[in-house]
Symmetry: C2
Subunit: 407 residues, 2 copies
């Protein structure tokens, strides 16, 4: 008798974005004349830069000729891309070797899959609010108890709110694996160097592992801030880092990301012996994954070329100008806003004690603007609201005008 | 203290193909003048057909223009591709709806990931020999005991050898989940309609689920044979089917596949209630996967266009002519061969009682031909050797001449 993985039944109803989609569709159907502006899901809108498009087309031509056709590539990515990524890390002051880089089809996949190489008895810590994938994949694997009041049993939640300056405090119970995200989705906050040093120290002292999601590092604007956890001394012994080209280079529909598992990282097996984590991830990827499409890897390589870097920087500057417009526009109207300086997300304190979903419905119905309710990211997100800077400029300006008119 | 998933340490050393690669590299280094012919890993060699290359290029141009740019797509694939796949199924006499199709980046990934939605206490049955991914992913998840004499505890092995005409017999112990592959990798055997009817009946009677890998269905040459398990009455209640464009359309480096989870398929939860499996896989994919690259989905759509179908059929005919040359050439030399009629693999009985790896070394050293030792696919593969029809014609002809000269 085949049995399902019953852990799936612990999952709380629906992923956040499908619920948003449902409400937006219902509103649009009832109000066909409304011009809806979407600053919700955080999907990029600017087209792929020309050098990247050209790289895909050239690679496709290669695939169409017998002498240059390529079949299976290495699961962890082609050397040309691994080297380009390692060089990029070195230019940021982080010691990462090419054979510590694993290219994949997305950071969602990597941050979802990484827990598979760790035992089911690890204590997992997440910030609250949090990117839902970290939590849901641990629920599905069976590392949590039942859900109650929006939180799962056994998980350690680290509140990150205005009260603590959006800096998660060290756990008061011992955590084995800690998910951190900086620049943060959804709060837009950036972890300071001092904070990261504190976390690396915690991990060393507790033999914990930090899963560091740096998907938005390219949006950091302030000089001197930390782009990679591997800039922090000792991090190579305690951390895995995830990065993505999705937002960085407009790859949400193209699909390419990368993960760094340093060879210095170790964890214990059931006998208490130290085992290299790099080899486990290599085994996981070679067994359950077959590499990223060759034309897409060539597109990713182009992101790191001089022309690609320039084009990508221009797009990021465009989005960060949007972020400034939202942040300053809302603040000037007397609203309390966070983020948007080193991240493409603005984290708005809901006014007048409105609930997150109340504000969602109000903005949708009265301003025809779609955002993301903070409560969708966790209990501590209640009373907040995420606005994304990924929009066409005139829509962003219009959205700010509409929001400030009604709030 | 972070702990690894200790199940990984049960895995037997190295995946098969890395070991082959190691031996081939060593030989090539010692014999730089040798012209090595590779009929081992089963990677395609013909270039991508023109309509498919053009589809990728057109889609890349779309991505380079603001008005046609696409960001995140649906995790399970775009409607245009889901519909094309459902139509293809219908043309083969299999009732599959578009919303039962899940597009992915490979059948290796899908056949590896599918076990995640099932409980850890299911009894798993696999054929022997078998595609290693089915086994290794269950080892990693913890559904097996320790390895002994090349077999894992708790797994149910179903021998498929010349003695039973390469048709696996029904398990003598109750199995909950059964992996079947037809046309078979590595034996090249095709399951008959009667055999599939027997398996569907077994699954119904035992509430078992069949995981049916049809990655090579496009290579079936004989009319009237079964291409999809969903041609079998009742299969929609007991089976999941995997298909791939890797070998079908030369996509090993392009990456696109699809899996069908019928809405009629159910399994039990811990309370013994029946739960729809389709919803579980949808949740798994939406949480741990982010869809296939848009230009690659357009390439896949082109495979199902009239021009794409014609080009793909021409390539398959080329490979199957290779298969005929290998099969008939070896048979004429007095060797015993199986497969190669409805599959691109020839399964050679090793002559003179040679072990699989002995024959591997002999062919590499004396004929400079690379194949795959049957023992690499399981205990019952010992005494067999896999040759792939994926080669350039003159190399295939040359390989047969060299092999028959020394065997």
């Amino acid at each position: 008798m085949a049995k399902i993985n019953s852990n799936y039944q612990k999952l709380q109803a629906g992923y956040l974005f499908p619920e948003i989609g449902r409400r937006v569709r219902a509103f649009a159907a009832a109000n066909p004349e409304a011009k809806i502006i979407r600053l919700g899901i955080g999907d990029v809108v600017l087209p792929l830069p020309e050098p990247i498009v050209q790289a895909i087309k050239d690679a496709s031509d290669e695939m169409g000729a017998r002498e240059s056709f390529r079949g299976y590539g290495p699961e962890q990515g082609y050397d040309f891309l691994l080297s380009a990524i390692a060089d990029h890390y070195k230019s940021q002051g982080a010691a990462v070797e090419a054979d510590e880089v694993f290219v994949s089809d997305g950071s969602k996949c990597d941050t979802a899959n990484i827990q598979e190489i760790f035992g089911l008895d690890n204590v997992i810590a997440v910030t609250d609010p949090v990117y839902p994938v970290y939590v849901d994949t641990n629920v599905m694997a069976g590392r949590t108890g039942e859900a109650k009041d929006g939180r799962y049993g056994k998980l350690v939640y680290l509140p990150t709110t205005a009260e603590n300056g959006f800096e998660p405090a060290l756990p008061t119970v011992k955590a084995d694996i800690v998910y951190l995200c900086s620049p943060n989705n959804p709060t837009g906050a950036l972890m300071s160097r001092a904070s990261l040093e504190k976390w690396v120290k915690y991990a060393k002292e507790n033999e914990a592992i930090l899963l560091y999601d740096a998907a938005y590092e390219a949006f950091i604007q302030e000089p001197g801030q930390v782009h990679s956890i591997f800039e922090i001394p000792g991090a190579r012994e305690v951390a895995i880092e995830f990065r993505s080209l999705s937002k960085t280079a407009g790859f949400t529909g193209v699909r390419c990301a990368y993960t760094v598992v340093p060879k210095d990282l170790k964890a214990r097996n059931d006998q208490g012996e130290l085992v290299g984590v790099h080899g486990l991830w290599l085994r996981r990827q070679t067994t359950k994954f077959n590499g990223v499409s060759y034309p897409i890897q060539k597109a990713a390589e182009a992101v790191f070329s001089p022309a690609g870097k320039k084009a990508v920087a221009d797009n990021i500057a465009y989005y960060m100008e949007n972020a400034r417009i939202i942040r300053e526009g809302l603040a000037a109207a007397g609203l309390t806003v966070y983020g948007g300086v080193n991240a493409p997300y603005i984290w708005l304190k809901t006014p007048a004690g409105l609930g997150s979903w109340d504000l969602f419905d109000k903005l949708l119905n009265e301003a025809h603007v779609v955002g993301t309710p903070g409560a969708g990211f966790g209990t501590c997100g209640e009373g907040y609201f995420r606005l994304s800077a990924f929009g066409i400029r005139e829509n962003v300006v219009e959205a700010v005008a509409r929001i400030t008119k009604i709030l």
